[in-house]
């Protein structure tokens, strides 16, 4: 299928369109960060774009595990937490330590990677390189945690695996809130003042919105490459039929572990980006409810569809933080509706999610991917056949 796809003219044109659109997207993001004057519209748009990009990565990483490898893991919040902390701890400027770690005499770690690099390379370059290094570090720490946790839990079957990973996420949360580790993690207090998106710029070009897009896009591209590789096929084989996969020489433990570690690496990266977005983090926020939220976005997008997860992330974040705000505000186009008050948005949302889970369990994309080549073919044929092939990345 891939071969025929690559040769077809639609595929070439589709690729071209994708490249043009991505270029247009970055030009738009550049304008948004640097040229366009802030107004009420961009003030809503920018956070939605940033958070949507970050959630895309987080959801795709969960989809790799739950959708492509068939491992029902509910530990995502734990790995996000590890990533967020690993990132922030090493990017808090030295002179801020006394303020941040005020209950722990300034903390145990008293250097900052961006600062150290900044001294050599200049502040901006130091910030970017330092942030990227720490983001990768965050992913590696999360992956290391996953490797340790995976040894015991990956032997468990479906729902036991779910509850065990959920349990580990809670244990991680407790460890990071423990005062004994306070000099490193600041206990149950906030971490703040670390390098965030507003610090990211090249020369005078601000990259506050483009940066999370770039990182997410690279990571998602890597995940897509993995899914379409021999290992990705092995993951799907494990998902479709474990017994057959094992009988065909695919080691269940090795491949489950690989998927778990890789998924957690990208969750860690996502956690780091989330920390940058929020500008402050606290372990207490990474509860199981967060995992549920991510899982539900994956379900909305379609379990087993990367583009579905991305679309659903942006939709979810946009609805949640922007489009459905009016449900909380008490009025609708000027007409006051008494039951539109705080929290109503979330109720509407949960009902929508239940409707999707019960009646449209395939989500937006099912297990198909969005591709421009596929869209064009569909348009040409005017047939109802599914959208297929290729990655969106």
């Amino acid at each position: 299928m891939e071969k025929t796809l690559q040769k077809s003219p639609e595929s070439k044109a589709g690729k071209l369109i994708a490249v043009v659109l991505i270029a247009a997207l970055y030009i738009f993001l550049y304008l948004l960060d640097n040229v366009l004057p802030p107004n009420s519209f961009t003030l809503m748009l920018i956070p939605v774009l940033k958070k949507g990009a970050i959630y895309s990565l987080i959801c795709v990483s969960m989809n790799l595990l739950n959708g492509f490898t068939g491992l029902f893991s509910l530990g995502q919040a734990g790995f996000l937490l590890v990533g967020a902390y690993a990132y922030s701890i090493f990017t808090i400027p030295a002179d801020q330590h006394d303020a941040v770690y005020q209950y722990f005499e300034g903390g145990a770690i008293r250097f900052s990677v961006p600062e150290a690099l900044g001294r050599v390379l200049g502040e901006n370059a130091g910030n970017i390189l330092g942030a990227i290094l720490c983001i990768i570090f965050a992913g590696l720490v999360a992956a290391a945690f996953a490797a340790l946790i995976g040894i015991p839990v990956l032997r468990l079957k479906s729902d036991y695996l779910a509850i065990a990973t959920l349990g580990f996420a809670e244990i991680i949360r407790a460890i990071f809130q423990w005062n004994g580790l306070g000099p490193v993690t600041n206990g149950s207090n906030m971490l703040r003042k670390y390098t965030d998106f507003s610090d990211i710029q090249i020369g005078s070009v601000k990259l506050a919105t483009a940066f999370p897009f770039l990182i997410s896009m690279i990571c998602i591209a890597i995940i897509v490459l993995l899914i379409h590789s021999s290992y990705g096929r092995a993951f799907k084989a494990v998902r479709d039929d474990e017994v057959a996969a094992e009988a065909m020489g695919i080691s269940l433990f090795k491949h489950k572990m690989l998927s778990f570690v890789i998924s957690s690496f990208f969750a860690g990266v996502g956690g780091a980006l989330l920390a940058m977005y929020q500008t402050t983090i606290q372990a207490n926020a990474f509860k199981s409810a967060m995992t549920y939220e991510i899982l539900l976005i994956v379900v909305i997008g379609g379990i087993g569809s990367v583009s579905g997860s991305c679309i659903a992330s942006f939709l979810y974040i946009a609805c949640n933080e922007w489009w459905l705000r009016f449900l909380d505000s008490g009025s609708f186009f000027g007409i006051s509706v008494p039951f539109f008050r705080d929290g109503f948005r979330k109720v509407v949302f949960s009902v929508l999610i239940m409707v999707i889970v019960l009646f449209f369990s395939r989500g937006i994309m099912g297990d198909k991917e969005l591709s421009f080549a596929g869209l064009m073919r569909k348009h040409k044929k005017k047939a109802t056949g599914g959208v297929e092939g290729g990655g969106q990345a």
Partner: protein
């Protein structure tokens, strides 16, 4: 039949589930290049025996050797020791127990099919076969992700294509495996097993659900792949015609125990086998 060294040597294999004796003290040899059949009525323990050989179950007692190397070896332990009713309980106790996972056994060179076809349902025919090549590919997760294994991937795809041509499945390559008709699904499962480059092929009721004509084609097909791929074949079967037609040697089990062994003509005339299949007129 014993001039050649057996590819598969099974010794005293016993499998108990709680108090139920699914396989009792089964011993058999599968010599190189032959087609050996294990037959018996429904529920005789044939598939359980297969599952012990391929590592799906850990047998209660016994030894399986592949090409002279011990591959599965076990002796009753713990609660099983008390429950164990077969003989030779301590015969293998002095050796360290080994019972590798099915993927390790496949890596050694044993491939199998399943009684109730187990194809990967979300994958195309092509991908089903291609994925079975994953195990033997020279790659790691980084080289595969970042496509530095392009040569290896190309080779795998070419081999898969060649295999599909040989198996007459090429015209279905882009169809979902589970959308194929039943007989073709069986053939695809065999092709997938061949993709792991086995020395020994285990077929679990390959003719189940086939009509006489399809069965005849299957018989020719099995003989053909044995020749072409230089295989040894060990099969479980129900269809007597197929077994009698292609087997070099037959083992018959009933209620987990061996009741007869011999070349097809001997088995055909064996009273115990006829009794087991047709039922003895006892109360």
């Amino acid at each position: 039949m014993s001039e050649k060294k057996p590819v598969l040597h099974v010794e005293n294999i016993t499998m108990q589930f709680g108090g139920v004796m699914a396989v009792n003290d089964l011993s058999l040899d599968v010599p190189e290049g032959q087609i050996i059949a294990l037959i018996g009525p429904n529920g005789a323990g044939k598939t359980t025996a297969f599952n012990c050989i391929t590592g799906v179950y850990e047998p209660t007692n016994g030894l399986v050797e592949f090409c002279g190397l011990p591959m599965v070896r076990n002796h009753p332990r713990g609660k099983m020791k008390k429950l164990y009713q077969g003989k030779d309980a301590d015969k293998y106790a002095h050796d360290p127990a080994i019972a590798p996972t099915p993927d390790r056994i496949t890596e050694l060179g044993i491939a199998r099919t399943f009684q109730n076809i187990r194809l990967w349902k979300s994958m195309t025919v092509f991908d089903n076969v291609l994925t079975a090549k994953h195990m033997r590919a020279d790659q790691n997760v980084f080289s595969a992700t970042f496509r530095t294994n392009a040569k290896e991937e190309k080779r795998m795809r070419a081999e898969t294509e060649a295999l599909l041509v040989e198996q007459n499945l090429l015209q279905y390559r882009d169809e979902l495996a589970v959308s194929l008709p039943y007989g073709l699904q069986r053939r695809l499962e065999i092709a997938r097993a061949l993709a792991t480059s086995p020395k020994l092929l285990l077929l679990d009721e390959p003719a189940a659900g086939m009509n006489p004509q399809e069965t005849a084609e299957l018989a020719a097909f099995i003989q053909q792949i044995r020749k072409e791929y230089d295989l040894t074949v060990f099969l479980i079967e129900h269809h007597m015609d197929l077994v009698m037609q292609i087997s070099d040697y037959i083992y018959v089990i009933d209620f987990g125990s061996e009741i007869a062994r011999g070349v097809p003509q001997e088995i055909q005339n064996d009273q115990r086998v006829i009794d087991a299949y047709l039922g003895v007129s006892e109360e």
